[in-house]
């Protein structure tokens, strides 16, 4: 990636390739997209299979976890319950039914909430997305920003400081940090609000997107928006710290590598302004490794939310997953597994597509 990217003036031979591809009938980016989408569908199917098999391998009887002691003693009721939940059929048939349901948008019925799992997910997923989304935004801005600063000020004090900070960010366990942050900012300094997504006395905004901040804005409720944004700050920052650390380190080394390239030196020699060199040459080339890391980091961010949600009593998918697992609520467990898996897929897809956009060679591979 390093010696080819972007410098048009340096590498005029790059130009004909897309032209050649266009002649064959479709844009290479379009073909690339179709290929990636097909792979994603296959992978999604794989996820359903894996979550189904893993869920059904769990020791413990869902009937015992869900029926009362007395009902358990009555074989007729147990049989009825098993039949109602399709547990009397062979596993492959259960899987076929599960898959058919999924294709129709039916995730099954949660055994704990007795509601469609899709309805539960629709309630919990937005809370997690709001949290993880805020965290990833903060991470991208701060992580890339810090990395660039550290690279440009290589071996100076600010570079050393940022490197130490990023190391701390990567090393500190998220749940511990969550506890400490909650204690310090909420309890000691009293500058952040406590548990949950919004002040209980206010209640939530009428759900439209499920994202509390957006819904509050849509409803024109500034008080709810302020409360929701305030509740978001600490958990999002806690969650972001690891990703910030990671991105700072990767951005720094990617930028340093590009800075050492001949074409950057050439550009400098030509007297191009620093801003142009930084944004047009350096950052653009450094972006591919940064995106890779950001994609991967989003994964760890999702798993991090389970603990952060527990500590901040954030009503997201983490709490739902925990509750489902401990009550052997198999449809809910599979639903959560599928959603998380698909989110990973989508992130990977986005990362792949971004590669294609940034680096034309990728589309042609």
């Amino acid at each position: 990636m390093s010696n080819t990217a972007s410098g048009k003036t340096l590498q005029p031979d790059r130009v004909p390739e897309p032209a050649r591809a266009r002649r064959r009938g479709s844009h290479p980016l379009a073909r690339f997209l179709v290929r990636r989408l097909l792979t994603a569908v296959l992978l999604a199917w794989g996820i359903t299979l894996v979550t189904f098999v893993l869920t059904n391998m769990v020791p413990g009887d869902p009937v015992a976890a869900n029926l009362g002691q007395r009902a358990l003693g009555d074989p007729a009721i147990v049989a009825q319950w098993r039949a109602e939940h399709g547990l009397d059929k062979p596993l492959w048939e259960q899987y076929a039914l599960h898959l058919r349901g999924l294709l129709q948008g039916d995730f099954g019925t949660s055994q704990q909430s007795h509601r469609p799992v899709s309805q539960d997910l629709a309630e919990f997923v937005p809370a997690t997305l709001e949290l993880a989304g805020a965290a990833i935004l903060v991470s991208l801005v701060l992580g890339v920003g810090f990395g660039v600063v550290a690279a440009l000020r290589r071996d100076r004090l600010s570079d050393h400081l940022l490197r130490v900070l990023s190391l701390i960010g990567i090393s500190v366990p998220t749940f511990w940090l969550a506890l400490v942050a909650f204690y310090v900012f909420f309890y000691r300094l009293q500058i952040t609000p406590g548990s949950g997504r919004v002040d209980p006395a206010l209640g939530g905004a009428p759900p439209v997107t499920g994202l509390q901040t957006i819904d509050a804005l849509l409803a024109g409720r500034w008080d709810i928006f302020a409360s929701a944004a305030g509740h978001l700050v600490t958990p999002a920052l806690v969650l972001a710290l690891y990703t910030i650390g990671l991105l700072t380190r990767f951005t720094r080394s990617a930028v340093l590598e590009v800075l050492g390239q001949d074409y950057v030196r050439a550009a400098r020699a030509k007297g191009l302004p620093g801003r142009v060199i930084l944004f047009r040459y350096v950052l653009r080339s450094a972006l591919v490794p940064i995106i890779t890391v950001a994609g991967l980091a989003f994964g760890s961010l999702l798993s991090g939310t389970v603990l952060v949600e527990a500590i901040f009593a954030w009503p997201g998918i983490g709490q739902y997953a925990y509750k489902s697992a401990t009550t052997l609520d198999l449809p809910a467990v599979m639903g959560v597994g599928l959603v998380v898996g698909v989110v990973y897929l989508v992130i990977n897809l986005i990362v792949d597509v971004l590669y294609g956009v940034i680096d034309p060679r990728v589309r042609l591979q």
Binding site: A64, R70, D74, Y187, S195, D199, A313
Partner: protein, 524 residues
């Protein structure tokens, strides 16, 4: 070029930090905002808001607030049932028939009057739907004698019935409304989803929103015919114990229900701490089934364990407010043994018993739920302490923790060699503890089959049919003494129930069945 981007990054970081402080600092704690909202933090154990299926602690709090029962208890006193929807009750001399007169003028939240038909439907539904609490009314016939009289008839003497009726699971539902939404009196009942979103009861509160894993919001029932509750809105949130403590200290919540003895030590003076020994009894058992173990069915082995456990040490672990359990029946309930009858550590006696057992250096497997906490007390340190205690006796204990769903399976199927579990009262009556007898639910779990201990079984049968407080007290004490002498159970401790409330909250009293009656709480 460095300076520009650097400035941008720094500015951005600063803006974020400002945003963090700004929006957070503007937040006023709920208690001070003027709206009478009560926030209760608890670790959720919740499945449903359908009273007929409710059995979990959090569900009982919700059930108590949204439904009314025929009888109830006054405050935390569970020794005497008092009228609620029924203005009076009478137990026949043979203990088989309870006759209840309905109060006049009581109405459901939709304004319709509560009738005898509603009562018959509600109770029959609980019994025949075969939900978790249906055993409460096993073998009880519910009938309407006239428009305001209900009779509950049991085949055998059932003096516990008046103590069972206050259970929120037996809350009276608006039968017309419930039937329209799928309620039936058999296992086909489909009303749960409806009852999870709307409460069809007559309690002081209504369900505003209900979520089994995050929070339940209650609002005052505008048509409640009794004393209006002090809070317009009650938010019950699912919060980890460590966070509960900080929330209540900061004023973000007004009640914290699940703090351990350690966590309430050194609470600031502006908070009220209510410490009472809970009605949960933690016990140890040694499986009596020869197929499960060659070691634990040995009576001398059980004696060695009973004498080898350091009860005082366990109490220390449990923290202030906890008490040793002299028998399986907790101290609050009729028939409980006196503290003087509690087992004491006798290391020499334990060693002698082990020697007499004929076992040399036995190794046993102790199973327990790893992540379960009872009143903030975790099973792990208890198990470790017991392991150390028994090591001194000469018994090697292999600790075998498992997640509660997995552990519960083994426990219920009677497959644990030794187990560490607890029993909370389903209703505050000693008859709830007959399950510890041979052949009964918990007895079977300990591999104690029916017919294996005639003395204990006879004393249990006698206790079950005794009528009159004095007779029952005696009979149940006798049953426990015999259970302690030859049974496979070793009652350990009743951990402390610590409830922390803000100074503004009045009227809190711990209740062994529904933990706290939300409608009883006032504002100072």
């Amino acid at each position: 070029m460095a300076t520009r981007s650097q400035t941008a990054a720094v500015l951005l970081a600063g803006a974020l930090a400002l945003a963090a402080c700004g929006s957070g600092g503007a937040q006023a704690p709920a208690a001070q905002s003027g709206a009478k909202t009560l926030v209760i933090d608890t670790s959720f154990d919740l499945k449903t808001a359908d009273p007929g299926r409710t059995y979990e602690p959090t569900g009982l709090i919700v059930g108590k607030a949204t439904y009314e029962t025929l009888l109830t208890f006054d405050g935390g006193d569970v020794t005497k049932p008092v009228p609620a929807l029924a203005e009076s009750y009478e137990l026949s001399e043979d203990g088989k028939v309870v006759t209840l007169k309905l109060k006049q003028g009581a109405t459901f939240a939709d304004g319709s009057p509560i009738t005898a038909d509603d009562v018959v439907f509600s109770l029959t539904r609980v019994r025949d739907m075969k939900g978790t609490p249906s055993f409460l009314l096993d073998g009880v016939e519910v009938a309407k004698a006239d428009d305001s009289t209900i009779t509950l008839t049991s085949k055998q003497a059932n003096p516990a019935l008046p103590y069972i009726l206050p259970n929120p699971a037996l809350g009276i539902i608006n039968s017309k409304l419930a039937k329209q939404n799928g309620a039936t009196t058999d296992p086909q009942d489909k009303a749960e989803q409806y009852l999870n979103s709307t409460s069809a009861g007559s309690g002081p509160y209504l369900i505003e929103s209900f979520n089994v894993s995050s929070q339940v919001v209650l609002k005052a029932n505008p048509k409640y015919y009794g004393t209006k509750p002090a809070y317009d809105k009650v938010v019950i949130r699912n919060v980890e114990a460590a966070t509960q403590k900080l929330n209540v200290q900061r004023g973000d919540s007004q009640v914290a229900l699940n703090l351990s003895g350690d966590q309430v030590a050194g609470m600031p003076a502006n908070l009220q701490v209510d410490k009472t020994s809970s009605a949960n009894v933690i016990f140890l058992f040694a499986n009596q089934n020869q197929e499960i173990s060659k070691t634990t069915p040995n009576a001398k082995f059980v004696e060695a364990v009973r004498k080898g456990v350091d009860y005082a040490g366990l109490l220390e672990l449990a923290g202030e407010g906890a008490t040793q359990a002299p028998g399986v029946i907790p101290s609050q309930i009729l028939g409980a043994l006196g503290a003087d009858q509690a087992a004491k550590r006798d290391l020499e006696g334990a060693k002698a018993a082990l020697a007499a057992s004929g076992l040399s250096n036995p190794t046993v497997k102790l199973e327990y739920p790893s992540e379960l906490t009872v009143n903030g007390l975790s099973f792990q340190p208890l198990a470790e302490r017991i392991q150390a205690n028994l090591k001194e006796v000469g018994i090697t204990v292999d600790l075998n923790p498992a997640p509660v769903t997995t552990a519960l399976d083994n426990y219920r199927n009677g497959k644990e060699e030794m187990g560490l579990w607890y029993w909370g009262p389903d209703y505050p009556d000693p008859s709830d503890y007959l399950v510890f007898l041979p052949g009964k639910t918990v007895g079977e779990r300990a591999g104690w089959k029916a017919g294996s201990d005639k003395t204990v079984e006879e004393s249990g049968e006698k206790a079950a049919v005794a009528v009159g407080d004095d007779l029952r007290k005696q009979a149940y004490a006798d049953m426990q003494t015999k259970l302690n002498a030859s049974g496979p159970f070793i009652p350990l401790i009743q951990p402390s129930q610590n409830i922390v409330t803000a100074a503004s909250v009045t009227g809190l009293e711990y209740h062994p069945v529904w933990t706290v009656d939300v409608a009883d709480l006032g504002v100072k």
